[in-house]
Symmetry: C2
Subunit: 682 residues, 2 copies
């Protein structure tokens, strides 16, 4: 069954389409000199961040690769190389996607002069480059590793490399973006009383850069990570089904590749279909794009299942102990995908500006900031119920259909349409930037209004993507837990065993610790930023008054955000790796299994809570800004701004970094499992 | 081995000493007419709350008891009676303790005129009545049930009844106290600009009542609940060690009773020892009281272990399959107790006014309310690491020493000194009230200063107790999980089983849901209260100006808080029982085991986070009020007040109610386990 080569072919197609869209975006008009100037500064800042990030990453990756090469009892050097390769592929996808995003922002702002239907495709196709690059480079990388080694274990090494990049891009980018945002807002809006995105603010470029490094590159790397991890996990589980047989001869190893390949093709079609009319609704267009992509994927997967049915059944009967039927596998795939969409939709309910939670939180602002925060936080707590129920039911049903393998396949199903999801998500910061550029270069009310409508759609897309990303990470880490069990040979992780329980109690403490450290990092870094912004307003004459020709020193702000973000990232990252190894080498496989389980539980909880409460506070503020409860500048508005500021590091730094953190921890455990089995203390 | 009768004898001694202290407090001078008037109003309000609470409770208990009597396959009617008896015993302890607290407040305020060393014993002995009543009535109840039935399973029914009372007292009282507090503060301090505890404020009596119903009666009922549950759990685990043998002949069934009896005696001695000099430090006196109680208990337990050693070893050799040695059991007991103290101390670090977390949070207030909240929240997240590690290590060590039975014994060890712990905790609201009475009746600067110092010690004691209560609940519910496993006959709860996992994912969503509902309940109820306070200021002429003879209508505010609190409690309470039964009857024992495990994990997380972050925000505010960063009235102070207001429902409503909630859920599962085994769907 060489059908798995559909995966690299789809990956190549994806990269080709991405390149075509790159050219399309690039050839659009980039507007006035002023616009180009602003866009140029953002691009410069983003590149400065990426450059430094890659530098840190290179050191980190080199160290870890060396450790893998020396210490792993089997395939050490190859694992090291795969690890490096994984981080490079993810970095490439991020670099490619972000380069386009930085071109698409100014070009869609310019196109907005001619109407919504002209600006939308520029922005969306810019986002699509990121989406298609992620799945393209990910799948190409997996295929190369798999083709050369035939060993899913090495694919796990590749996945581990991708997770390193995700940690830097998502958590580091998250600290960066909020440092800049909080700094710019607190000094600019609050102290100096100048509007958002005003060019006089020294941190305005850093703020715009932040949207790109946090949301475009960060989210891309995060989903790259989950995508690869889910595929690697299910391949390893498939090997476990028929241990003696070559992977290439085992159809269950190849199936996730085939399904993922189909998902890429569906995403390409979905991207091609999305469009919006002159009076159209860009939010609806994005949602329909997602639904249609899902539909196409499910049907394609069904046909392939029909086609392969006989072959798989025959093979399974003669090679597997337990039964595993093709349609049940397809069912698990669909269950995962549907769960992902349901989680996205419930996230949307809890964060949408026109739904009860946001409106009630806005109303609570009437009695002050504290009640706003308590209300938003409470809805955030409630919001985790549907997705957790969804993940619980999906995993149980998938298991019922096709065992542990089914749980992995459900994760693959959920992640199959990642190309489309990331496209919609990256669209968000592009139009957010476009709005900023339109404001900074004074394009007039009408254009700003169009940019606003594009931006509102982006916010919804972003909220759905976050829910989706958390759900996908949840199923993926559950599959990784099964992989860890497979590799370590554990019989199970029984909570009634003392070491499993003790591990779980330590595990549940890790995601909160990680969140706290990155949020405190934002605080510390923002403090440095605030000092610098104040200094510039104090020392640069004519800056505050907006004197002709006087410009702030954008570069220093960008530099502070960059350096600080990467510095503050070190402690939480190292802790999440080191504590995992300590628990493993001291407590052994049982403790480590419990630890992973615990960290998955609390990781999911806090990721959902923080992302959703953050989004909710943001929209409660926007609801008031739209005129309710006194509107902009009123006391309730001030209260809602406090809630929004609390929510910022929740939703853009700590919350979404947790996906990455738990994936990293799971991968560390799986990669080092053979060593831990040999040398654990207890 | 009839040595277990030490338990009821110690319980009787405890009640006798409590009665003596009651008389002591009662015969103290209750001060001026004005003071008596205020204290009378508080007493009236508290009694009104209790009366209504008991009414609701009676209906609830009657319904559940009927359900137990009809549906349980074995011993239904007896279980129903034990259930009613448990709720009555807990209610009696609460009523007795609170009656004294309401006498001790005004009497210690009066005694403060003669100095700290006169006021302290009045307040502390008032608290001690609660502490000794809790352990006295709890142990007397257990002993009666055990003596009459000889069946630890029925003791579990008694425990279930106590948990019903805890739910009403802790969660209902928590909603009550914050409703009154938030309402009084928001209208009084913020809108009307009148000081705290000002007699013109219509909600001031309700606020004072709240301290008593939430902190005295609530905390007492909560620890009553954990105390009984831990003893019942370990008795059942002991039965499981030697199934065929009568409980009375099984020394392992009797050991927890003996140890708990010794703990009561140690607490009585500890209470007798605590005293403070004229210039003494009441906080230190309370802490030393706790340490000395621990020491006495450990030594007494050691002697009893030495005395029983031979008998237990001989019995164990001929009746048990696995070995279980007396000294190892003693070790597990000590491990639990030490873990409790360590958790208390780390809680103290994270919430104390003179430690880094509170100071840094206070400092963060310089950049506004949002940064104050993010910082405090972050430290709250970090603060859960030490106690979770502590519970993890304690349970693993206790298991290593004496198996699952050891985990239960560790919980008993931790809870052995509950008499002393509750005494210190109940002291807090008494002196808080004393301070309020001193201010309202104008006793002058010097007296208020002494009341302030007494109050500060109370706050520290409260923080430690909360950490302790959470730790104790944690170990208790782990023991209850083992009990559930024992009763249901499950082999274990393996996270890799799909139903266990799905159950766990639903379970982790429950405590956040419960927290959110009670916090939103506070919001709704506070809103009603605010409307009423505003109405009174508007409609009662001369009230705001403080005209001679004009008094607000305190009773209506008390009534609103009371009705609302009990109303808002219904949904979360019913949900936590019903969802548990649904998960059990649909998913079966595996799903229910996972569900309990998951709810324990997230229950611990949120209980620790909310209690600690709340305490931290409170003290950060107090740190600023003591003069730092601009002091009272400055911008940082206003920011810190927002943090404190957010923290109020965290630390006094949602956080501490979670102990009770997870205990209730565990008990529901254990009590209904036989039915679930018979009728589960999957």
């Amino acid at each position: 069954m060489e059908l798995w080569t559909i995966a690299p072919l789809a990956a190549l197609a994806s990269i080709v389409v991405a390149s075509y869209l790159f050219v399309y975006v690039n050839k659009q008009d980039s507007g006035t000199t002023k616009m180009r100037e602003i866009a140029g500064a953002i691009q410069e800042g983003a590149n400065a961040f990426l450059k430094r990030e890659f530098m840190y990453l290179a050191v980190f990756v080199a160290v870890v690769a060396t450790v893998l090469a020396i210490f792993l009892p089997k395939n050490g050097p190859i694992m090291g190389v795969a690890y490096i390769f994984g981080s490079i592929c993810s970095a490439l996808a991020g670099y490619f996607g972000m380069t386009v995003a930085l071109k698409a922002n100014v070009r869609s702002a310019h196109a907005a002069k001619e109407g919504l239907n002209k600006a939308f495709p520029v922005a969306f196709r810019g986002g699509a480059v990121m989406g298609l690059s992620v799945v393209g480079f990910a799948m190409l990388g997996i295929s190369v590793v798999y083709y050369l080694t035939g060993d899913p274990g090495i694919v796990l090494g590749f996945s581990f490399g991708a997770s390193a990049m995700a940690l830097f891009a998502k958590a580091g980018g998250g600290i960066y973006t909020k440092t800049a945002d909080v700094g710019a807002d607190l000094v600019g809006k609050v102290e100096m009383d100048i509007p958002e995105d005003d060019p006089r603010n020294p941190a305005v470029i850093a703020d715009n850069v932040g949207d790109n490094v946090g949301d475009v590159a960060g989210m891309g790397a995060d989903l790259f990570d989950s995508y690869v991890a889910s595929i690697a996990a299910v391949m390893i589980l498939a090997v476990g089904l028929a241990p003696g047989i070559s992977s290439f001869d085992n159809p269950f190893v190849n199936l996730p590749l085939i399904f993922a390949g189909l998902g890429i093709l569906a995403s390409i079609l979905g991207v091609a279909i999305v469009r919006v009319g002159k009076k159209g609704n860009p939010g609806k267009a994005l949602n329909w794009g997602t639904y249609i992509t899902c539909g196409i994927f499910i049907i394609m997967a069904l046909f392939v299942t029909l086609y392969l049915r006989q072959e798989i059944e025959t093979w399974a009967q003669s090679n597997l102990e337990s039964s595993l039927y093709p349609f049940q596998i397809w069912g698990a795939l669909v269950v995962g995908l549907v769960a992902g969409v349901v989680i996205g939709i419930t996230t949307d309910y809890f964060t949408s500006i026109d739904r009860a939670p946001a409106i009630k939180t806005a109303e609570a602002s009437k009695t002050g900031a504290a009640i706003n925060i308590i209300t938003g936080f409470s809805y955030g707590l409630i919001s985790m119920f549907p997705p957790l129920l969804g993940i619980g039911i999906a995993s149980a049903v998938a298991y019922g259909l096709a065992g542990v393998y089914g749980v992995g396949i459900a994760a693959v199903g959920m992640l199959s349409i990642v190309g489309m999801i990331v496209a919609g998500d990256a669209y968000g910061p592009i139009v957010d930037n476009a709005k900023g550029i339109a404001e900074q270069s004074g394009l007039g009310e009408e254009v700003i209004d169009i940019a606003d409508r594009l931006d509102a759609a982006g916010n919804t897309a972003k909220a759905i993507t976050k829910g989706f990303a958390i759900g996908a990470a949840g199923l993926t880490v559950l599959a990784l837990l099964a992989t860890f069990q497979e590799i370590s040979g554990a019989a199970g992780f029984d909570l009634m065993k003392p070491l499993v329980l003790a591990g779980a109690l330590i595990g549940i403490a890790m995601p909160p610790l990680f969140s706290a450290l990155v949020m405190l990092g934002v605080g510390k870094n923002a403090f440095r930023m605030i000092e610098e912004i104040r200094r510039q307003f104090r020392e640069i004459p004519g800056l505050k008054e907006g004197k002709e020709g006087v410009k702030p020193d954008y570069a220093t702000c960008v530099d502070i955000a960059t350096k600080g973000a990467l510095k503050e990232l070190i402690l939480p990252s190292v802790l999440s790796i080191v504590v995992t190894l300590v628990v493993g080498f001291v407590g052994g496989i049982d403790a480590l299994g419990g630890y992973l389980g615990g960290s998955i539980f609390s990781g999911l909880i806090f990721a959902l809570l923080m992302s959703n409460a953050g989004g909710l506070w943001d929209n409660a503020k926007k609801y008031i800004e739209a005129g309710a409860f006194g509107g902009k500048g009123s006391e309730p508005h001030k209260a809602a701004v406090v809630g929004d500021t609390v929510g910022d590091p929740f939703k853009d730094t700590a919350g979404p970094s947790l996906n990455t953190m738990i994936t990293v921890m799971s991968l560390v455990a799986s990669v080092f499992a053979p060593l831990i089995v040999m040398y654990a203390l207890l």
